[in-house]
Symmetry: C3
Subunit: 303 residues, 3 copies
Amino acid sequence: MLPDQIQLAPNGPSLSRIVAGTMTWGEWGAKLSTNEMAELIGTCLDNGITTFDHADIYGHYSTESDFGEALAALGSSVRGSLQLVSKCGIRLVTARRPENRVKSYDTSKEYIIKSAERSLSNLRTDYLDVFLIHRPDTLMDPVEVAEAFQELKDSGKVLHFGVSNFTPSQFELLNDHFPLVTNQVECNPLHSDLLFDGTFDQLLRRQLKPMIWSPLGGKRYFNGESTIVLRLRDAVRMIAKKHDTTENVILLAWLLKHPSGMLPVVGTTKAERLVEARAALGVDLDRQDWFVILEAARGAEVA
Amino acid sequence: MLPDQIQLAPNGPSLSRIVAGTMTWGEWGAKLSTNEMAELIGTCLDNGITTFDHADIYGHYSTESDFGEALAALGSSVRGSLQLVSKCGIRLVTARRPENRVKSYDTSKEYIIKSAERSLSNLRTDYLDVFLIHRPDTLMDPVEVAEAFQELKDSGKVLHFGVSNFTPSQFELLNDHFPLVTNQVECNPLHSDLLFDGTFDQLLRRQLKPMIWSPLGGKRYFNGESTIVLRLRDAVRMIAKKHDTTENVILLAWLLKHPSGMLPVVGTTKAERLVEARAALGVDLDRQDWFVILEAARGAEVA
Amino acid sequence: MLPDQIQLAPNGPSLSRIVAGTMTWGEWGAKLSTNEMAELIGTCLDNGITTFDHADIYGHYSTESDFGEALAALGSSVRGSLQLVSKCGIRLVTARRPENRVKSYDTSKEYIIKSAERSLSNLRTDYLDVFLIHRPDTLMDPVEVAEAFQELKDSGKVLHFGVSNFTPSQFELLNDHFPLVTNQVECNPLHSDLLFDGTFDQLLRRQLKPMIWSPLGGKRYFNGESTIVLRLRDAVRMIAKKHDTTENVILLAWLLKHPSGMLPVVGTTKAERLVEARAALGVDLDRQDWFVILEAARGAEVA
């Protein structure tokens, strides 16, 4: 049984190994009421899922604030029991941000600081545990980003900093200027290229744990009808049966088996799915079964 | 307004931010007379464009010598007011080099030294400010190249060394053996892959400024009829209108906005175009407009 | 004339520049008898080919043992005159390993140590000169591999360690934890991508020599009928004629010309081919001829 908590980096925060992803809690998905959100937060905490992953843009810039109301409803004592991760840097075109004319990135010092402050205000909290640059900005000036991070750290508004969807080269550039604690990237059997392109090699070398978005493969896995998806689901079901568990658990266990120490960000709003996710910590996949899944998803045996 | 001059590397030379590219000044293009070249050099110098980019092969090994005659006509006092960049390492098949049987690369010590000496003689000068390996040679022995560079430096024939069209890995290999001051690469909205592949990340990390060839996108931009080109030109025109300037200026400003500190090598032989290029130093593109151009050229919004 | 022996790494072993590859000596090819193998080993040694390249899987886990019987027949004094390289980490599905259910990788500490010990027993020897991880294992834990290597080194069972088919990033990850002496990779004119992707740049930077499998291009070169193969063979033949030698020799000389110091692993079981291979040490290809071969194989002149 893997522990419920994991340290993200040598000087990084302890997060729960299974992270609750909030992207679909609000306007972009289940549209949970304040009460429902508060209840879901409680279920997470009761099940060792103490870390909540946000981004300013979720729900077209509305979900952080919905979540903040639920947090407030739970009372101020709850903040110390959980960790909040958020992200900034994407400008979405939406009525809520009339100044945005084109989907684009902004990692200027001013924009990063303003984004963090808005997230704090929306989440009704004094600090973020981890703050990430959401996408690699072609115009990123690492000196400027480092200045923004330092200012947010010095003021106590953010404790740790990282990135999301960065290539190893982009990560290295920013990490030269400010120590990062994670790179949150997409990985699942249907999206496995990062297992081969050096992204995880880099994090392993630096003893940084990756956070993983879309750990189950999303709709493509569950609704896909392609030969590859059908074969993959057969393979996963067979292994799930062997472990007397569900496909979801096996897909998470597949990620947890990787030596980099992945933290899957589970995006469901269903309480039973979150409880189930934690069960993956107890499944140690056999190496050969791991490759059965990889082979099914890639459509070819290894070289 | 960006300064007219920029330091290429921590211990590197100061070059003009806008560089005049000579590839089409001679046989491969406008076939300027000695007088015309002398006049064009004068126009450049009068407009803060003090750096001239050459390669031994331009005009099938003839343009350096044409330019050298123009330099001589301007008198010996002019040399101190300008910087000469040249390149070696490509063997072209041409009647002027009967020993060349196949287009190929040569970065042997002997070939590099001989090439530099020929460039000095053709350009009628005692030294080159910067000397580049034109293309990554699969057979490059970094020890041998470093020996050639050191010999050329010790003799005062070349002040600084760099490369062109190198991948980050090739750059790192040679830079381990001899400190390089730049990597001259192609970049423009229609050729933007290097913005994502680590080339500029590496230069930023090392505080080296890239020189940029084909900064406008060449004929493909100006004569292209594809959907992408038409859309890109619409976007650039719209932004040019907003700044009350030309498409050329906007395309250069797009490069100048990048945090790596790019030096566009402008290849025109028209005096008014060179003067116009300098105007780009005064245009600070809005970040969103920068992404409007990127999106138009790549045919998709950012992720 | 290049020397018969070459040092693989600053603190690495001396191997013969031409290595005999045993993949097809047994069940996967010529099915040589013990006497025939012993004779072929003798021919190699008589011709300066003192290094023999194995992998546990060759002949579905049978060729090491066939070779071991031949070695035993040659008497114990022969061991000091030759070097044995082997590899582990691939699980093949075969009746000889009923525990293997899917072609997969295993680089667990236990599996590596057990594999080395089996290779020693099969080869009837006390030590391996070099032991390689055969393929990059997505689940490789570098700490665990380093522990296995250290234990094998401390016990004197293996003198040096390396990898095969690793990307630069994967190599760097493991090399951080244990000093590697080589990366054995595929390279020939029809498989030349590694000349451009940084694999050899990395080895050059670290002064490690690559071992090269399939140095001639295998059946594709000799039996191929595509335009590219026909053009390549024409080019190679023309150059062979000029040097009064064979296509094989030119193909090997093409690799030996590379500054990284490649050690071709020659896979033939024909004595005359092995003797012939050594002749490549005496052929110093002209740089332009090298590019004639590259251009023919890639179907385009260099940029």
